[in-house]
Amino acid sequence: MSAKTTTNSMNMSRRKFLKTTGIVGGGLVVGFSLAGCAPGELPIDLSENGFIPNAFLQITPDNNVRFYCPRDEMGQGVTTGLATLIGEELDVHPQQMDVKFAGVHADYNNPAMGVQGTGGSSSLRAHYMPLRQVGANTRSVLVSAAAAELGVAVEDITTADGHVIVAGKQYPYGQFVNAAAKLESPEEAPMKANADFRYIGKAFSRIDAIAKSTGTAEFAIDIDIPDMHHAVVVRSPVAGAKLKSVDKSVAQAMPGVTDVIEISSGVAVVAEKYWQAKTAAAKLSPKWQDVALGQVDTQTVKDDYARAMQQEEGLTGPDEGDIVAGLAAAEHVVEAQYWAPYLAHAPLEPMDAVVRIEDGEADVWSGVQGVGAMQGLVSRFSGIPLEKVRAHNTYLGGAFGRRGTLTHIVEATELAVASGKPIHLLWSREDDIRNGVYRPASLMKMKAGVGSDGKLTAWQAKRVGGNITPKILENMIPALFPGLGDSTIEFVVGLSRDVFSGWMVDHSSIEGISDDYDAPNKVVNHVTVDHNVPLTFWRSVGHSYTSFAKEGIVDELAEKANIDPVEFRLNNTVNNPRLNNVIRVAQQHMQEMQPAEGHYLGFASHNSFMTDVAEIAEVSVKDNVITVHKVTCVVDCGIAVNPDIVRGQMEGAVMYGLTATLHGDLDLQAGAFKQSNFHDYPILRMQEAPAVDVIIVDSGTAPTGVGEPGLPPIAPAVASAVFKATGQRLRSLPLRLS
């Protein structure tokens, strides 16, 4: 059966769940698509098995079970998590699976997004039922095939570890793939009851642990292809400033240099080896055009935000009850302003990509949070049709939202086109800190009131800052619609900018600022002030700063009303029972803690990405230095598909959040970020890392995300402990005592 035939038959059937799609070269290929079989050839190497892709599973006669993982592995453990879902119902141990990253195809779209992207802590939530269903359907058809081949009833067959078992005798699945390929697959084979899970909910090593402990996991930086040349780009220190002029002669004459090329983002040196390109690029002194951002310092941003906070009402977001009446009914009212700075993601692998253009076709390798967008950008900037661009996703050396913005793919493509050579582009750390996309700075004013019964009567929040959605659209539309003209894109992006500054609040700007507490009277306002700093998602997005303001004001209000702050939260989260329970569990742990002399406990809780987390930080302060000794983290994320990975994500989010709590700051000077590397943009190191105790609340409900929700509570938890230790309310991040 040829690839084409199978694709056509799929197109004709267009079933809700894809059936057994064919057998080629002796293997079974199974896939699904929630929307039916999407058109187009599947991005699987046909030379190996001759399979039609559009598939999640490929089982060969020698019983190799391959899983094409539709999501990107940036450290969050998604390959292990998704393999566990499919393996659970298929009865194959996830560690026994041969996991490959899927190429581009609509069948691999994220059901939560409608595009092939990874983020928003969505993967386990979005794939929990669909991938289990694929596993169950596949197991069912294998069992039917085995029953026919072995002459036994389906009821007499059990399965385990990739084998059919009949009367105690084991037969590998591979033995039945040819027979299975001729059978109709059920669309909705029954799935296991939770009590029967063998892999879901059990801890075992990550399936990528060996590769990542031996230097053999392949990242984009490791891609090495024949005739590959290395590129270093010099960009304006002020975002958006175009190249005015550059003298290329010195760089051009340096050893190993083959090209010095002007591209849309600046000027690039192409050389035989990276160090040659790097050395030559240092000899370039380009001049840049002036842009408005060039007049902006951090103080400008702060002054503009403060003025807007004071003088502009802004747009109204969530609005319930009567805030004036709510404030009037309060016995105690507090009001305070909170600040959070611009932040860089600083994944340890800087942006990098390899692009090869040859004979009217292209290949691109990079580790990105949207492999379809990567393909689209290469097509757009090379003029090569989408179907002739092969996008190869690698492991991502950290992402945290950063690898959803793909200007490095544009650069590498422009360089491959202009030089006629396969290009390996690598950003430096300085490029990463200074030429990146950032967590938006935010000024937040919170005002809340509590009645004599300890119940919130009023909740008022206002945020000033930039919006990320128009910036995301600016990056994603050219990538997702490579055929769309520049002027159309400019129109759409401009429209979104206007919409979110003048018509409706960009949800990501205020998410988490008003949702958790029960106040009957709530209002959120937003004023957009944008200085043209490039912005994007940053681990937990809006929650990364709204939690600081939201939990901070609750701490202040509880103190003023003389109510225990944890008790206060319990009394005011009745409408969010899961969050309420997480707070209660954390309270029980907190009551048993006996902090050392001079240590103080701070508490905070937050719901984000449908997951509830409470954290207790044990903190001491000496000579104005804040030390976090231990963090206890209680999480309810539904079923913990792999509890050890859930713990790891909570540990990691605490550390990532602590870097922001204690160190993270970027200063604009004349439109350029002053910081450049880890000496002035410090990252938490081992000697500062607290012990982290993670408690996972038992749950039988479907999983919710864990990549981000561990982050939002940590800054306010530490700030609360610092208040207890010093009496100082710190309302600016990073926390600095004076």
């Binding site: 592995e73 450290g75 990276y274 590397n677 190191r685 081992m686």
Partner: protein
């Protein structure tokens, strides 16, 4: 022409003597396990052993390793023959994104080579040059201390048996 020992094998290169060792290992000798993270000796992703000591090779010119022994992650262990630290890294699922882990393991291996029984503070000090942006520090530390304890136990058993 500079000659040195790379994972026990004599090699030579005519790369510019100022080229950092990291790029010679990666681009010339095509060993990709050691990573670039900062280019300034600040993050440790490029850590290799030079004559048994942990070294930040993104700022170490190859002229400085002439005639010396360089060990990379590829020389420490392989998927089929894991170093005890790598075994423990797998057992504890230490890596998340994994990008920094070659450097972490090389720093840890140099530490245990020189100090088989480090205290927690000594582990902190030895590992303070290695950044993990995913924040796997708790597990890295546990893995090092576990391997140290296992080694001590083996050594004690050896002595008893002797």
């Amino acid at each position: 022409m500079i000659e040195f020992m790379l994972n026990g094998v004599s090699v030579r290169t005519d790369d510019d003597p100022n080229t950092p060792l990291l790029w010679v290992i990666r681009d010339t000798f095509k060993l990709k396990g050691s990573k670039f993270g900062c280019g300034a000796g600040l993050c440790g992703a490029c850590t290799m052993h030079v004559d048994g000591e942990a070294n930040r090779t993104c700022i170490l010119p190859i002229s400085a390793v002439a005639g010396r022994h360089v060990t990379t992650i590829e020389g420490l262990g392989t998927p089929d023959n894991l170093h005890p630290l790598q075994e423990e890294w797998v057992a504890l699922s230490v890596p998340q994104c994994g990008y920094c882990q070659s450097g972490q393991i090389m720093s840890a291996a140099a530490l245990l080579e020189n100090n088989p029984n480090p205290t927690a503070d000594e582990v902190d000090a030895a590992m303070s040059g290695n950044i993990c942006r995913c924040g796997c520090y708790v597990r890295i530390k546990d893995a090092i201390l576990n391997v140290s304890a296992q080694k001590l136990a083996y050594n004690a058993m050896d002595e008893v048996n002797a």
